[in-house]
Symmetry: D2
Subunit: 336 residues, 4 copies
């Protein structure tokens, strides 16, 4: 039996996910759509020849008896309300990043979900589904490098649009490392620090770029991550875990090795969309499969909440130029 999905938000990422469900994944179909721009949703449904109706309101979609589960791919500020409504309706919900725009909002979701007594929420941190990160986690988990002690990362983009300003290096970019490294290390953060190196002349006026973020975990593992979004040279994601007896690096995407004009070279991707495209596919497939089986196997509301709290601490650390503690109670038993 196919899982019947309702999708709220048919912008770029919503359309991508719907196409994924139609063409790549198995076990689910989209039966209902909603978007504040109704006409756009309608047009998309027709263009894609979806066998799905466009419903008037998000609430109506969530309530619809033929909608087994909800995909929230709308504007960020709407996420909290939509996820809470899904929980209230007792329906599994996949919510794109961020789970909520504030830590308090994410906490409300955690509380509501626990009150409901059943895990329903998955947050869209897709890097956990990347084959490279999974291989790296396997290397750590099977003891190949001994206990992890340090992590050195870089998150580099060739350029960002003018709309990318302020602390988006943390909330939009580094947020991926925040979630991925907790999962990789099976650990939580206890403090954050942010360093602002010399500014590149290639960033637009509204941006101090790059930054270096330092995190400390409960086990004492120390993480340093360069976040450099106007680096010009490529979309370059690096992650080295150093353990007691060895070091392991996230693999680069494969590339034809070229010998030409005095250089031996491989390509660095320039477009971030290519980098994790397979991870997005797998993320949705595993969500569909586990939802159909009545479970949540991916990043939970607690993970989304922890990420929000950590991002807030990073922002505070940046503003104060101090080491900011990350204080969050122990993980509730509910989240295993």
């Amino acid at each position: 039996m196919s899982l019947r999905l309702g999708v709220i938000g048919t912008g770029a990422i919503g359309q991508d996910h719907i196409r994924r469900i139609t063409r790549k994944t198995h076990g689910a179909r989209v039966v209902a759509l909603n978007d504040i721009a109704r006409a756009q949703a309608q047009a998309f449904a027709e263009r894609e020849r979806l066998d799905a109706r466009v419903v008037e309101t998000a609430g109506e979609l969530i309530a619809a008896p033929d909608v087994d589960a909800v995909l929230v791919t709308s504007w960020g500020p709407s996420h909290e309300e939509l996820v809470l409504a899904s929980i209230a309706a007792g329906k599994p919900v996949f919510c794109e990043k961020p789970l909520a725009t504030t830590a308090a909002g994410a906490r409300r979701i955690v509380d509501a979900e626990m009150q409901g007594g059943r895990r329903l929420v998955q947050v869209g941190f897709m890097r956990r589904y990347d084959a490279g990160y999974r291989a790296l986690k396997q290397t750590v988990d099977d003891g190949t490098i001994g206990a992890a002690l340090m992590v050195h990362c870089a998150h580099r983009n060739p350029a960002v649009p003018e709309a990318y300003v302020g602390d988006m290096a943390i909330t939009d970019t580094f947020i991926h490392e925040i979630d991925t490294l907790r999962w990789l290390l099976d650990d939580d953060y206890v403090s954050a620090q942010v360093i602002e190196p010399r500014r590149t002349r290639n960033a637009h006026a509204g941006l101090h770029d790059p930054i270096v973020v330092l995190l400390e975990t409960r086990k004492g593992i120390r993480i340093d991550c360069e976040v450099f979004v106007a680096c010009r040279f490529g979309y370059d994601i690096r992650c080295q875990i150093v353990g007691e007896t060895g070091a392991a690096d996230l693999p680069d995407p494969p590339s034809v090795a070229l010998r030409s004009a005095g250089r031996a070279s491989t390509a660095i991707q320039m477009d971030w969309k290519q980098r994790f495209v397979d991870a997005y596919d797998l993320e949705l497939q595993e969500w569909i499969t586990s939802t159909a089986a009545g479970a949540v196997s991916g990043p939970t509301a607690w993970d989304g909440y922890f990420a929000a709290v950590t991002a807030d601490a990073c922002i505070a650390a940046r503003q104060t130029r101090r080491i900011v503690p990350i204080e969050i109670g122990a993980r509730p038993r509910f989240y295993g």
Copy 2:
């Protein structure tokens, strides 16, 4: 509308393909199965909860009105007859390697297909669907290394079973390079030579391993390929194309880079099944999509025939220790 498939042969590769169609690809479903071991087919269908009937004979399956296209994954010696029957029935047919066990048999298929007036046959050369080979072909095609002049290859397996004997290094192993390089270079072969280096002590008694195969193309490109199936150290597929201004290498599969015990290392796969698993998925998906659209986009019967003739020449070259010409008429216009 979903393409309705009949599958002849439900051994290992047949089962793999059926699972692929059920779980990975879109646009087709299996409606009928046939195998000389009927009970096995029946058991498999039940285990997989396939909504497909098991039919008594291959002929019945090919003739069935609800079978739009045929997948031949039976024992090699049966391929020729089954493909000819599919052509006679006017049905698209995907045939696993080999198209026929002799070049003459492959030629009969080519002739039958041309006589029928419509391209119906695709041969299962899956490397053309590997992302790495496609990137390599793109590099050649877009002129990055200038006109191709030489190709250096290696096809290495850690070990082969006792049943792997005689000229299987050519007919089962090197056959992949035969097809892939013709496609990569967009060229045909004109001669073959085989060299037998010093024999490894790690091959079983029935096998002279390794060998080196040399091919010459119509354009004068020279190919050398090491075929070493008891190399012990890994399943290692290498392909470097040297052009007038550069050289390009097939990428290795991505791997965590490890620094440990005085070595910086990456993994070489040991199991050939992993190496091209994505290529198999894509091969079937593209076959389904193009078949539904009424066309053959993959390796044709002509390609299967050319591969068979080339393999025969390699075998003759090995026996005679001479350079053996590959004589085959120009590609019929029918095969574009």
Copy 3:
């Protein structure tokens, strides 16, 4: 005309340098030796068939009319006095690390040298002579990666002896990065911070290992350096400079690339002595050549002093867990 050298201290490093002068470099010869263990010096001179006399005291050696220049390779605590004596005698002096055991001592040397009105002192920071670091500096200097913004380093040893304790990770190990990075970046430091990650179980009882040192330069460049001296897996020196348009890495020493037992690998050196052996040769050769020409071309007393002040700041930063400013006046014009 050959430069006539007097060597004070004929322990391991002194013997290495003497053999270098005898067998590798050109333009100098050792004419006098001194060591507090006179018999050992005498025995070494005989074993090596040196045409050099062993003199009773260091002062006598420095004063000897046939000694054109002095090599100080004695015990660290003696360096300051011997270098000051050489300056007083108006003789060029090459002093192994450290220039003095305290920053104040190094400052006294700087003051004495300036007072003398002529640059006479070179400190033994050999990494500036390593071909890899020189190529890296060239890459930075010629603008290939734009202005430098960040540096990511690691200084890893497989193991250290029991005698290696306390802050030797800074004074004996990281001291190399302190000097090399100032030279690479043509910049000075303004602050230091030290982080203590989770401790490896492979370090001996007296040692907290690894540490991470963070330095900030006058231009705002931010440096992070992992110092991990019981890493087990190799002597692994890494340095990546990230600039406005690219990143450049210190090359690893060349190694046969091996494909074996499921791994593609290269060697990481286990013995630090091999790593910079060519740099030591070149260091001495350039010192001899420039000394013969009446100049100092290598690391100056000022560089030695700056390194000592920076090391002190790192130690204070480690103890206080705070960011410690590095305050040192502007470079005197005397040191160009």
Copy 4:
């Protein structure tokens, strides 16, 4: 005591060697020079402030009582006569490639040397002194890859001058692999074959480029070597030895790894002179050291003779397009 050398031929390579002896190596000095262009030799001696006299004839130089050993760096066609004269005079002689311009000439040297009863001749095959090749040989010799079965090589130059024509790809270029691989494998050749791939448009009119040379050894090891002297992209020397349990590659020269403009790259040298510069230094140093000790430790007259016979076989194989046997008696005991 310093070895007193006489150098015949003060062209480019002669001058390089003399500078090496003066500035890099230890244990020898040049006491006499000869060149058919006497004035040029005189000018060079003055420019370099050599403490050496220019003598009228090569014969006079060889005979001079203060000349302990001879360096032949004159025009190729003069080598045979000069080496024979040195042997007649009982003096050690280092002769640049080729030992003689014909195999017969090289044989005459072998015979003369054996008749003299003492090994005196070393041929200038410098690759045996390259650190990379030595590490590769070590890997083979210590059994890391099991018994060698195949060797895949490439010898690539970006371009060659107009004067480079005919079979110089064999006599000037591939000659290096001929000697190096015999030494690496500790084996002799028994046959040669040459293949002419499609010609690059970047070679000048007088040149068919590239070629592929195939050699077979006494043990049955099979070698393929691409020789491509107008490859445009770099001076690129590759050598992979495939053994029963692994494969080992000659290391590339170290290079700063750059990430820039969408590419991760390292440099390929463009100028062949850089590639083996350290090997030339070591070659002369070891020759000086062993000559002073009364022995020949490097490539012998027999090696030079074997190389000449092999090159002749390659040329014949190219002309006849056949596999040409290499017939040469067993190595005389004299050459151990």
